[in-house]
Chain length 362, copies 2
């Protein structure tokens, strides 16, 4: 691990991954006088178009990684499935933020839930599942309905199956490939919310307001801010993020996805997942907050002061999935709508092609 490094204008941020998140980080780095070097295996990655350099290579190509690491001043990533070995290899040469520890814990649903609940933060009830017998035991403990998820490499609803009363548990386990798994109790939540926050190496911390998220087909469809939550939920959400960031020794922007539950008329939150990166539910900050989550992430990993997180109005962010991006011309004609397209060549179903932000008077 290298010593902490404070970047200066003219320095270069290395980003693992070349999708829209890397692209928006690079676009935020430029006005701060920083260059971006994108590292991604896929040809024509959207982030290549806005970066001063790119390396197209695999995440286990040690020669390419080594050259990349020596050409940049800090490394970050746009997705949590960067191999921990890659992060560890790079961090011997150049600071990597967030660090390998945050990456390791959040890549594994069981480790993540264990980590969160050991902090005394509420999660859904959960149990480890490694085989059919273990699944039966877990179901006996947690009850039905429950959600069986692979421990690793799940996103946007992939790698998970609901086990309801009467369902064949063994078939469910087979459906997720009999991979090491976690069984989670079903949370009767009202709504899904998230908090996007930033922490810098010296422990400074800032959280954006809680965002309310509507999913369709397991993909984020719309975020709205402010969320319809109590001041207590706002406060506790920020505090949850602060404690998680602190316990991870986190540097950069991250998101905590939560379920909003109502018990005896009082709102509370249950942590579902930590995303160690800028997050789709924080895209509203691009036009709707003083500092965007992308600029905030750059500030944090550069060792710079965090920016103001105040909201500029009532904000609504809608994803443009697949051919929804065909409506770009109508969006451009809508006064005050902010269009963000990701530069992806092909609009496959379910693919995030862009988003649109609308700001209303507070």
């Amino acid at each position: 691990m290298s010593a902490p490094r404070i970047l200066k204008p003219g320095d270069t941020i290395g980003i693992l991954g070349g999708g829209q998140l890397a692209r928006m980080i690079a676009l935020a780095a430029a006005p701060l006088g920083l260059k971006a070097h994108i590292y991604a295996p896929e040809a024509g990655s959207p982030a290549f178009d806005v970066a001063s350099a790119h390396t197209q290579a695999a995440y286990d190509d040690l020669d390419a990684l080594s050259a990349f690491a020596t050409s940049v001043d800090v490394v970050t990533y746009e997705f949590e499935n960067v191999p921990v070995d890659t992060a560890t290899f790079l961090s011997a040469i150049v600071p990597v933020h967030p660090g390998a520890r945050a990456l390791g814990i959040t890549q594994d649903r069981l480790d993540e839930k264990t980590f969160v609940s050991r902090l005394g933060i509420e999660t859904a009830p959960f149990a480890e599942v490694n085989d059919d017998a273990g699944l039966e035991a877990a179901l006996a403990e947690i009850g039905r309905p429950a959600v069986l998820k692979t421990r690793r490499f799940g996103y946007d609803g992939k790698g998970q199956v609901i086990i309801r009363e009467g369902d064949d548990a063994a078939a469910a386990f087979k459906a997720i490939g009999r991979h090491p798994a976690i069984l989670e109790g079903f949370v009767p939540f009202e709504r899904e919310v998230s908090v996007v926050a930033a922490r810098s190496e010296d422990g400074r911390f800032k959280a954006y307001e809680v965002t309310e998220n509507e999913h369709r087909h397991h993909i984020l469809y719309r975020s709205t801010v402010p969320a319809d939550v109590t001041p207590a939920v706002e406060a506790v959400s920020a505090e949850i993020a602060r404690r998680i960031g602190e316990a991870l020794g986190y540097v950069g922007v991250f998101a905590v996805e939560m379920f909003l539950v109502v018990e005896d008329g009082a709102q509370g939150v249950i942590v579902n997942e930590i995303a160690p990166r800028v997050h789709n539910s924080g895209h509203w900050t691009l036009d709707g907050a003083v500092t965007s989550q992308f600029e905030q992430h750059v500030r944090a990993i550069a060792g710079w002061p965090l920016g103001a997180v105040e909201r500029l109005g009532r904000v609504e962010m809608t994803n443009l999935i697949g051919n929804e991006a065909d409506s770009w011309h109508e969006i451009l004609a809508e006064p005050g709508a902010h269009l963000h397209l990701y530069g992806k060549a092909e609009a496959r179903p379910g693919r995030k092609m862009g988003h649109v932000t609308r700001i209303f008077e507070p």
Copy 2:
């Protein structure tokens, strides 16, 4: 001249010039799903770092220009001293916005003033100067003090000299290289203001609010919006811009620099100069308006609807000249200040290195 073309996401904007204006146009094009190809003679041009492609070649390199023109869907430029021949050559292959006519007129101070005054818009009194005798005649007509300016290639106070009572006129002419010149009457102005506006090919027009500009050493130091002007000045300024845009058949963003004069207690404006491009006095729109001048320019040259020009607060934009950019860390620590650095390697005196925008409650 090619037929009008409406761009679609995935298309590429070609930009002549690789400085901060090109850089900010490219940064604004990306979220709209457009790629940028920068054409500039200088190695390491700041805009190269945020573009999907760049060509480093001279403006009279026809092979390079030809390859550039066929690789892009529209061409624009960041500075008014692009050779008209270059624009004309390119426009045989691809649409060039703004067109060669706007470029030709605004490159020549005499043509520009003649054009403006023929529209019935007030300018300083002016006369053509080609030799010493012509200068004497012009001085007799216009009086002293007066400003002698080269007709072409002047900017930031370069290529001009004031002739006061008792000054040697011939020496002044020699000081500007005895180039074809224009003598302009001295306007006893109160303040300098500008209007930044956009026009699209089908005649749609939008103007930002009048900006008040403070210069130091002939370089813009600070812009503030709203300007301290009457509603009548706001209205007449927008109307002046509309008529100039119309008469030029202009496509894109342009600025009209004006002197604010007060006669018999009433404010009025006198046009000083037209800048056929995004303009330093419009940088406040990046954080201070719904649509930035850079996005607006992209929308206009793409044939897309113009964006909303509403202001988001009381805005102050301050240039960072030379080593003033060394204060970047203090600016980052200032809540709500928006830092924009241009990625220039060397901070020479008088060089625009960046700017900072501050938004205050209206």
